[in-house]
Amino acid sequence: MPLTREQIAARAAQELRDGYYVNLGIGMPTLVANYVPKGIDVIFQSENGMLGIGPYPTEAEIDPDLINAGKETVTEIRGTSYFSSADSFAMIRGGHIDIAILGAMEVSEQGDIANWTIPGKVLKGMGGAMDLVSGAKRVIVAMEQVARDGSKKLLKECRLPLTGKKCVNTVMSELAVIDITPQGLLLREVAPGVAADDVQKVTEPKLRISPELRTIKI
């Protein structure tokens, strides 16, 4: 059974450790915050200038001066700090963020990532994505294995304009957990009931299969 989006987020959350500073991208990665393992402190960074993002506000708590990078209203927690955009990206570029979890349109077996534009179709801009992929200590991509039009997203080479080169460490999809290594893609985990072959069918480059291949536990 392929994982749901919630389950992919839950699997990604298993990578979090006590004391980690983490940046979550828009969309599925945002769900990761709902699955922080119990008993640990994880501090979420928002690139518009905040460390320590709390839950969404109640109606009464809504504050227009307090939003996340997705422009959603949020709250602060005990221990939150605010800072400027220059400080925020010094934090990101300077390697002080332990993990960035983000979505992608394409990832290559070298760890290149494309997630900011489709030429002639979408003009939105890269926002903070290029800084995050080049600066975070570890970059995890949470994405579906196949695009809506049926095309594969894990490729030998990205076709879309890149967000960053050689920066993705791990891809977590509805089918698998795949590490990007100097020797190429390494299949480490598969979803329950999913075989390595099933993952290979929707992955363009050849997968190496870890001798310790295991089933994803949620």
């Binding site: 001066d65 307090l66 422009k71 801009g125 290029m130 890149l162």
Partner: protein, 231 residues
């Protein structure tokens, strides 16, 4: 010394066609609403706007697009604005996209008297095209130039009569750097206070960077994505 002006219209009295303007704000959060509306009223054209976003279709800086006052935008993210997309695709609007951290640092460099900087962000991507590239400390880095402006317009929570500014929560974003990088910096504040009322240890922008200051009349503070949990 008197930096206090009566209102937004007086604050932009000498702003002319073709000006380069930095505007603080992230999406609609922390926008200098009174100043944007005054620029809209004044009708100056051919503006270059440096701001992370361009508001939404009908809010924030978006209103300057509706009246075709903007020639060029320097931003990092321009989604959520249909008029922007239309003008760009029709070739009516020039757009320069920067990675968000590069945009912030270019502004900081502009205000800090630096000639630019090397950054790993964007190396090997479209953004690197036409830029000097070097391998430094084992990493490919690209050279980015500083940004400066004729005017910076920002909104702060509190400001005193000399122009010391304090921001509130995530409304701070790009504003502190923008204050340093313009020939004339104008701050609209929610609360204009007397000298001595701000704790000097809590000042985010020291007064040297601010040329004009006034208390905004009404801050609408629109919310782009109202997300709530059950109470």
């Amino acid at each position: 010394m008197n930096k206090v002006v009566a209102n937004a219209d007086e604050a932009i009295r000498d702003l002319q066609d073709g000006a380069v303007i930095m505007s603080g704000g992230f999406g609609l959060c922390g926008n200098p609403e009174n100043l944007i509306k005054a620029i809209h009223r004044k009708g100056v054209k051919n503006l270059t706007i440096i701001s992370n976003n361009c508001g939404t279709t009908d809010k924030g800086l978006g209103i300057l697009l509706q009246t075709r006052q903007v020639r060029k935008m320097v931003s990092s993210y321009v989604g959520e604005n249909k008029e922007f997309e239309r003008q760009f695709l029709a070739g009516e609007l020039e757009v320069e996209l920067n990675p968000q951290g590069t945009l912030a640092e270019r502004i900081r460099a502009g205000g800090a008297g630096l000639g630019g900087f090397f950054t790993p962000t964007g190396a090997g991507t479209q953004i690197a095209q036409g830029k000097e590239s070097r391998v430094l400390d084992g990493r490919e880095m690209i050279f980015e130039k500083p940004l400066k402006a004729d005017y910076a317009i920002v909104r702060a929570w509190k400001g005193d009569k000399w122009g010391n500014l304090v921001f509130r929560k995530t409304a701070r974003n790009f504003s502190p750097m923008m204050c340093t990088a313009a020939r004339i910096t104008i701050a609209e504040v929610e609360h204009l206070v007397e000298l001595g009322e701000l704790d000097p240890d809590q000042v985010h922008v020291p007064s040297v960077y601010v040329n004009r200051i006034f208390q905004g009349t009404s801050h609408e503070k629109p919310i782009e994505k109202r997300t709530v949990r059950k109470g």
